[in-house]
Symmetry: D3
């Protein structure tokens, strides 16, 4: 059940059986010479698509995230952390005022983790500073850290997975968009590793945008398997989350 493809009476009915919602969050940022700029949004959106088929309500994807270090590569877009804090705050407060209680952010970008967690603190701080119980429970789940995904990724790529523009995420985007398979010779085969600072430093350290990865090892068939693993991870984790008490 996708929020954007539902009507309000359908959501009203849903709220009677569940107060949970999935919000995919990604980023719009370069993913090396062959990876799609939308990779980090496409992955959680695709997995959440599977969750929606299981009857879980899924909100529209927050497609822009924390990508300041990628801005040296054309097509990358970044919010500032304070902006993302405001976006997450408004989305949660909007749905909370209608009775939603369980917010499951399915994330596709490692760079978002810190700021999403800060956004949760900002939301809870409002309640805590007012000495009142919070009505909302918030969870950040990173699809690429689910147990089945981690195991499969290790099996498929071991060290070649790397940190950015990984074969796992690229395979998964091919599962979502099979017509978007791109293969180019990449040199060196294994991208360098380094530290993340500002955009200039990033581009100097990682000239083609990849970090520590061999995306050339991505395969469409891997994408199908990764999708299944990620969906099972997410469904499991979401169900556990629903069972935890709120606030």
């Amino acid at each position: 059940m996708k929020l954007q493809l539902s009507t309000w009476p359908e959501v009203e009915a849903y709220l009677e059986r569940s107060q949970g919602i999935v919000i995919p969050i990604g980023s719009t940022e370069q993913h090396g010479p062959t990876g799609l700029i939308g990779t980090d949004a496409i992955c959680p959106e695709t997995i959440a698509g599977g969750m929606s088929e299981a009857g879980i309500l899924v909100a529209p994807t927050i497609s822009y995230g924390m990508a300041q270090h990628h801005l040296g590569f054309p097509g990358s877009v970044s919010l500032r952390p304070t902006t993302l804090l405001a976006v997450i705050g408004d989305v949660v407060r909007s749905l909370a005022c209608q009775g939603f209680r369980k917010f499951y952010f399915l994330n596709g970008h490692g760079g978002n983790i810190a700021t999403v967690q800060a956004a949760f603190s900002e939301l809870w701080a409002e309640d805590s500073l007012a000495a009142r119980a919070s009505a909302v429970d918030l969870r950040l789940a990173n699809w690429f850290m689910g147990p089945r995904v981690v195991e499969l990724s290790r099996e498929l790529y071991a060290d070649a997975e790397g940190q950015h523009a990984t074969p796992s995420e690229i395979s998964l985007t091919w599962h979502a968009y099979p017509e978007q398979v791109r293969r180019l010779p990449l040199a060196p085969e294994r991208a360098p590793t380094g530290r993340i600072q500002d955009a200039r430093s990033f581009r100097r350290q990682f000239p083609d945008g990849r970090c520590g990865s061999e995306p050339a090892r991505a395969e469409l068939e891997h994408g199908h398997r990764l999708y299944e693993a990620a969906l099972t991870d997410a469904l499991d984790d979401y169900r556990r989350f629903l069972e935890m008490s709120v606030g």
Copy 2:
């Protein structure tokens, strides 16, 4: 050419031939008993999809907009105006630092107009207060106000178009998602009109969420025609925009 389905070297190549980009902006808000909550994002995203086939670069849709008055209906989500100002500012600044100069916001929600214009002023004010020329040109285009769309909508629905949950936009969402056609008896046939204030007042005045419209007159076939009209309007308007000098 969709930004999320491109790689950075492809965007780099694009920038050499054009400094323009289309950014669909919508809202996630109730559209009456039969209209999709995503209507205002789906419409510009669909039209922009046509533009992208014409070789124009299209960014991911900003799916959340100004919908505070709809929050009384489950599933509606609103950013605050200050949040949307920050989002638009960050998106524009990100792409501007890479050489984009022409930002075409294709909008699907009347309620966004004021805040998007305020966001443009906020961006330009930075340059104006610094006594420097702005490097960016910004345009807000509302698909539902294009000349061909207005004419067709008048022909098809006349007064029954109304202001919210209109047969035009609902037909267009059916063009995009033909499997989402919903037909329900709506009473009264023509929704009431009124004034927009806060969410409580809105729900009291517009009990099923429609404003002044007869969405039951929507037809899939109308959606096809509206799509063609809207795409032609947008392509025309975008090309004129590109020809105007920047800053």
Copy 3:
């Protein structure tokens, strides 16, 4: 009844008979070679002066508005949109906590419209996100769009009215300050038209600050007639506004 020329017990007594207040809002920006920099504040302040004589409470004018595009001309002052949002929010909340319910912003500057509307959304969003009814009703009225004013202006100037530094507003400032009549040869007689972006672009397009207008057609006697038309428009509109239910 002017707020600044009243005492608090007088306002307390007023509140027992009315919860409405008029807040003139303008801008401090160039109005061409002969127009006063205060034109956009003087006009609504003058009309509101007439309203105050009819026993309506009128607050001090918000004299600074959205004028970033005029900053290339000395003497122009602009708030940023986020600043004006904060100002309007504080003014409304201050008076609302004392029992005012109907806020009528009488506006003299087209450039303010978007941001004032965004400010209204920001205020209502607070209530809507908290799932409570708003206690305030907010209206933006542009004196230059009232029916009698539009008709008279068309009759007097037709196309020569233009968009900025119009003969209508200049005539009205002369009604307010007859000693400020300035007449200078303007070339071309009719100012160019164009698009509003940042301050540099504005000054390049509109070298003497006028947009599409022939302010040389202003007359003091027109000012008297425009004042009467504008006051009648405003009194009518304000009374209708008071009759509408709040929140």
Copy 4:
């Protein structure tokens, strides 16, 4: 020379001979049973009116200030400190980008002092944090603290001056608006003194809004003398300010 009654070419000419400007700043807040709500804005605006006759450029008055403690009395309006910081910042930056260098804030409200000084720090901090010289010089002058005013007020009222709704300021508003003289029996003759906290506490301590003052001792003739004293103080102080080096 009043900014609102000037044209941009006149300001352009002024800038060639002076880079200084006077900005009256007041507050809209109760001033006891007989004092005008606009007292704190009327006083500096009136004195600045005299400065403008001496050829000094005077901007429109910032009429809303720091008055949170007065909000328990109808008609009082307060900005939050962060809002006033933004307003002052925008006004200064706007005029600075055109070449103004000397900003003289003529203040009518003791409660504004702290926040205006904080606003100056906020402005200078921008330059200091960027390790560049500031182009602007900023001065806050309180008309009621000028040497001639203090001496005259002591001579006229001694202790009866008090802290809020003082006979001095009320006399000065009568000089500006002789038709606004109000006389009412006030009991006790001398208002109590106390501490300023929030609005509830203020109204409890100061039931009729006065603090430590005997406004019944105000006289129109005193107002004329106070005006002359204040104008001389301000002209002297402004001239000294112009002579100090900038930044």
Copy 5:
């Protein structure tokens, strides 16, 4: 009783006998060739140390303050006023939600006064705009303005006290850190006086960082006496503050 050296059950017990807390606030900024950069934090922290021995709860020092004008001297750090407003707001709200009612800010830096007072207004404005009584009482006390300190400082240094890097504060830091006594020849003996603007202007006017002072007159023995005077001043003033009614 120092907050950082207490446990929560100890604070819980304290709250039953007192709702007051002392919060030292200073700055990290140059204090001339011989003064410690931490002078303005060390002084109130030291005096508050004495208060804590008298059983008063003392919070950790806010060590960073308003020092934009000192940024031209290495080692100086400044918050912007808006940042300090946020810090003070959060600290007060945190402790208020647990039952603290009396917040005594013991300040060591003249440059903090305006912004701390603005922070108090910002906090109280929240309550005043919501038409509710505030639960907190806030006081700013400047140790260097206490009656015994002022008297002793006059006796010891008269005019040589100056405005910044004063012999009083330097003596007091020596009382706190006797091993930090530094003696260097300073020329001129008496530092110049001037006006505070931005950092560049400050360093130009005050080349070695002192303002109007002769810190070479500082003595360790003076520090002991100043400490006793300041502690007595603070204990007296704090006790009076506790006796005043809240809100």
Copy 6:
């Protein structure tokens, strides 16, 4: 070398040999029935004290951090994430304008990690959005995650370390303040584990404030060993950081 105990000429000299600085950051929050409220600030401050003896410049501790979940326990203080972002931004910008390039935040609180990282992104985003190289390098080091500390803590406490109010940190505070050893019977011996949400939920899950730990196993002698381990970890890590290229 402690910044607060240095003079500006000493810092000027330091800058010629190093552009690095250590900034301890902690929190003021409950640490169970026997742990000090200042634990998270005391630990990094103490370790940084050792670094300062090695000639490294150490700034005053940022004592207030991200502790919204602890606000249900008296004495806990929390900044909101947006406030801490502003504080870190101002501290870094202040020192950067004087030539500091390497900022080493030595952190004592797990709850700070996300927000400090977000603050780094916010700082770098300024440079990245302006398409300029950043002049600063930023590192967050958590003393409790250093290799020697982790090994020693495992050896001493294994699972009894827990997550909050751990025997490691409590032992280290005893090293710093041997007179503050507190021993109380704690039941259950091992605190429960759970999830962090708002303050109400936290206190319900963790009634005495500890999470998963057995602080009763803390020993003063462990504190000495942990201090040595942590100091060696920090010195190693800091030196590596200095060797990395900036921006």
